[in-house]
């Protein structure tokens, strides 16, 4: 008898005579055996604890992020006020003479970002 037929009959719960049938029976019995690794009775509680810890830590992370951003903005305002700093474009001043180039740069970078989102990140 072919392997396909033996496997099919064993799958249907029939007994197959002969050595090959016995070997396949042993294999299927072994495959249906519960593995040694099992989870403890407290498993669900442990997952719940991790979920709760995750949500409380993520909300406290968010609070600290807002505190940090506010502190940075305040420090910037105080520094500008104390030093009388006036912002300048510096080396980027030359771009004011080339508005088309500036526009091209912005569109090019935006286009690359769009392609990255549409093609690269989606397929990853």
């Amino acid at each position: 008898m072919k392997d396909e037929d033996i496997q099919e009959r064993i799958n249907q719960g029939e007994s197959v005579p002969g050595h090959e049938g016995q070997v396949y029976r042993k294999i299927v019995d072994a495959l249906q055996r519960e593995p040694k690794f099992s989870l403890p009775p407290s498993f669900a509680d442990r997952v719940m604890l991790r979920i709760q810890a995750g949500s409380s830590s993520s909300s406290s992370d968010l609070v600290w992020l807002y505190v940090g951003i506010t502190a940075c903005v305040l420090a910037l305002v105080v520094a500008i006020w104390r030093t009388g700093f006036t912002p300048e474009l510096g080396i980027l001043k030359f771009l004011t003479g080339y508005p088309a180039l500036t526009l091209f740069g912005v569109v090019f970078i935006a286009g690359l970002q769009w392609l990255d989102r549409r093609l690269v990140k989606k397929s990853a």
Binding site: D3, I27, P35, F37, F43, V47
Partner: protein, 186 residues
């Protein structure tokens, strides 16, 4: 047992007891997948916990395109495979060349085999040596009682491939066990 839709909507409403019930209903399935695929001195329980954290995180996106158990098994399968790859543990794709079947059948593990208490345990040692795709197919079909279509959905492959993998995996195990039994008699 609560039906899947009611259970999921209760979890999404923030009911803790529903989430606990969801975990209890599916922990065996996740343990089977992780326990069979990830080997070595890994903290298997932690990996199973990670699977359920992912399930909880992605539950709002679950649209009942499949059974809840199939969806959870898919997450467990992908997580286990990613874990194997990240840990640089031995990850075998199913080799293309025919020679590997012979190598698989001929490969000896006397110490492991001798430590096995019975023949069923020996078969499970042989199962451990199979590529993870074969192990996953065998586990979902024989241990979790999924049909070909459900196994295919979990592993992202057509039913025909599932049938083929099952047939080839069982045949390999038969050849390996037959060879072992012959050697034992000789």
């Amino acid at each position: 047992m609560t039906d899947d839709r009611t259970l999921v909507s209760r979890v999404l409403q923030g009911e803790e007891s529903a989430l606990r019930a969801l975990i209890r209903q599916h922990e065996r399935l996740v343990a089977h997948m992780v326990g069979r695929l990830v080997k070595g001195n890994e903290d298997l329980e932690e990996i199973c916990q990670d699977v359920f954290l992912k399930v909880y995180e992605k539950l709002p996106e679950f649209g009942f395109q499949s059974k809840l158990s199939t969806w959870i098994a898919t997450i467990a399968y992908r997580h286990a495979i990613n874990h194997i790859r990240k840990q640089r543990m031995q990850f075998q794709e199913i080799p293309e060349d025919e020679g590997w079947i012979e190598r698989f059948v001929e490969r000896d593990n006397p110490a492991e085999i001798l430590s096995a208490k019975d023949e069923e345990e020996r078969v499970l040692i042989f199962v451990d040596q199979l590529p993870p795709q074969y192990k996953a197919v065998l586990t979902l079909y024989h241990l979790d009682g999924m049909n070909y279509a459900e196994v295919g959905e979990v592993m992202g492959m057509p039913e025909g491939t599932v049938k083929n993998y099952l047939f080839r995996a069982r045949k390999l195990l038969k050849e390996k066990l037959t060879k072992y039994l012959h050697r034992e008699i000789a």
